[in-house]
């Protein structure tokens, strides 16, 4: 418990009749980078808003750093930093002034912290320019700088790579690693799955407001299954034949091949089976189970199986 920075249990939220979060529970441990994945409209931003106290959940509890958000809001939020969607600023104020607005709301936060975080975000030279003159990438970095102002223990980044060029993405990624080394826990949502794969050690996948799966990256990727692509002239027939095979878990038709999930180590058995059935097996490609495929499989119902 002492190691848990964020604990969400059984959170539900509806907007009118539309239920956006179903019984969401999750836990983030100190120093962890938690990746929160899901297609558009899955409820990622809504969950972040609930955790930050911007939206009241209909049910459920949220504890940050051991403090109940609903009853001890100020202590709970004291060491949290966040960028929700694209960061918002007062465009006619300078970057420095925008950060000053946040520093003024924290006790014992020295003004000297402002140039410090501006330096981290690489914005020192433009500190006194109006934010209205900033590019999207600069605003994104300034948002992260602002989230770091209060020496946070837990930082929320909602799609931090959004709108960044490749150089910007590399910079943000190294910033995330830097924060991780300082023992800061991160909660990151992103559509760029490769990025999540590279920076997160724990992930959860959400769809239509329900968490489909969560676990450590290695755990989720290890799995007891392996995936192969089968290339054959008899796509339909093969698909049909595999329907009641015990070691095949799932078989999906794509225009050019069959995507088959089967028990680890049973590929050889599969080949023998297909040959015995006289199905035209052209070739077979084993697939690495990347997070992206994992995500696709879980989150999108693109299969005709």
């Amino acid at each position: 418990m002492g190691n848990t920075v964020l604990e969400i249990s059984q959170v539900e939220k509806s907007f009118g009749k539309h239920k956006v979060l179903h019984n969401v529970s999750l836990k983030v441990v100190k120093g962890q980078v938690f990746g929160f994945l899901g297609p558009n409209g899955a409820g990622k931003t809504t969950l972040i808003r609930v955790i930050l106290g911007l939206i009241r959940p209909d049910k459920g509890t949220i504890h940050i750093d051991g403090f109940n958000l609903q009853t001890n809001f100020r202590q709970a939020i004291e060491h949290v930093g966040a960028v929700v969607e694209t960061p918002k600023f007062y465009p006619h104020l300078s970057a420095y002034q925008n950060l000053l607005l946040v520093r003024n709301l924290h006790r014992n936060l020295p003004k000297s912290r402002i140039p410090e975080v501006l330096e981290i975000a690489g914005l020192s030279a433009r500190a006194h320019d109006k934010v209205g003159t900033y590019s999207l990438g600069m605003k994104q970095r300034l948002g992260i700088a602002r989230a770091l102002l209060n020496y946070p223990k837990l930082v929320f980044l909602d799609e931090p790579m959004n709108g960044l060029d490749p150089q910007g993405i590399i910079e943000v990624r190294s910033l995330i690693h830097q924060l991780q080394h300082q023992g800061i826990s991160l909660f990151i949502t992103s559509h760029l799955l490769h990025e999540v794969e590279q920076v997160c050690d724990q992930i959860a996948i959400i769809k239509n407001g329900s968490i489909l799966t969560q676990g450590s990256l290695t755990e989720l990727l290890r799995s007891d299954l392996e995936v192969v692509e089968i290339y054959t002239k008899d796509l339909l027939e093969t698909h049909h034949a595999l329907a009641d095979v015990a070691f095949v878990h799932k078989c999906t038709i794509t225009p050019s091949f069959l995507l088959v999930e089967l028990d680890r180590g049973s590929t050889e058995q599969l080949i023998r089976f297909l040959v015995k059935r006289n199905l035209h097996l052209q070739y077979l490609i084993p697939r690495k189970h990347s997070l992206e495929e994992f995500f696709m499989e879980l989150a999108y119902e693109g299969s005709i199986s």
Partner: protein, 252 residues
């Protein structure tokens, strides 16, 4: 809480509109001067000058400025997503809203005192201080004149704040700054016209903006009961606004 109020001032001082408004106030206080030069008559002196403009300032100029200011610090702040940022700092929602109310009160007092000084300054500079304080055909001692003037200006802050709280209520439920200004200005002009046409005075907040008659009544021995109405009016809208704000889902 002090940090929240400080932030509002920081934003106001960096807002161009504020400086345009200060310029407007200066022009308003110079306007009668031009008029007296044009029609070549001068019944003013420095002592009475602030009160000659008091009605226009409190019943028209200040309310319109406050309508815009409230739309900016509540509706615009919410729609721009900046209010959400404030909410996720270690401050409570009650503090956030109450700080805005204190800020409004400070701005109103600041502007009224500025107008008071402007009135005395411009009036005395152009017409001289003068030998007597004459108001509505009655002559008062110079000291009484200053008392009446200062009390009127300062007390006008209460009905103006109560009016701002009504606007704040509108600003929290209407999701567009332009609509907030429109609705608030509509209510303001409509009730101003109503109060000119029929005598239902006491229940409209407009009738309290010009506090001079109440101060004169008080001076001649009547109670300050109207103040009670003004304070309850403000309090009701403050509580209503708070009630909604505390429950509001901040989705921007």
């Amino acid at each position: 809480m002090i940090g929240l109020i400080k932030n509002e001032w920081l934003k106001l001082f960096n807002n161009k509109k504020f400086y345009w408004f200060l310029l407007l106030l200066l022009i308003i206080y110079l306007f009668p001067v031009f008029m007296t030069f044009v029609v070549r008559m001068s019944t003013f002196n420095g002592q009475v000058y602030p009160l000659t403009l008091f009605g226009v300032i409190t019943s028209l100029v200040m309310p319109l400025f406050l309508i815009v200011l409230v739309a900016e610090i509540v509706t615009e702040d919410y729609l721009s997503g900046n209010l959400s940022l404030t909410i996720i700092q270690p401050v409570t929602r009650v503090q956030v809203l109450t700080a805005k109310v204190f800020f409004l009160f400070q701005v109103i007092l600041f502007l009224l005192l500025l107008c008071l000084l402007l009135g005395y300054g411009v009036g005395t500079f152009i017409y001289g201080w003068g030998s007597e304080f004459m108001l509505r055909g009655k002559t008062y001692s110079q000291l009484t004149g200053i008392q009446l003037t200062v009390m009127s200006y300062v007390s006008a802050s209460l009905p103006l704040l109560a009016f701002s709280l009504l606007n704040m209520f509108i600003a929290i439920i209407v999701p567009s700054a332009a609509a907030v200004v429109g609705i608030s200005a509509g209510i303001f002009f409509f009730s101003t016209i109503i109060s000119l046409l029929v005598d239902i005075g006491p229940i409209l907040i407009n009738t309290y903006f010009n506090t001079l008659p109440f101060i004169l009544d008080y001076y001649s021995g009547q109670s300050l009961a109207p103040g009670l109405f003004v304070i309850s009016f403000g309090l009701i809208f403050y509580l209503l606004t708070l009630f909604i704000f505390i429950r509001k889902d901040m989705v921007l």
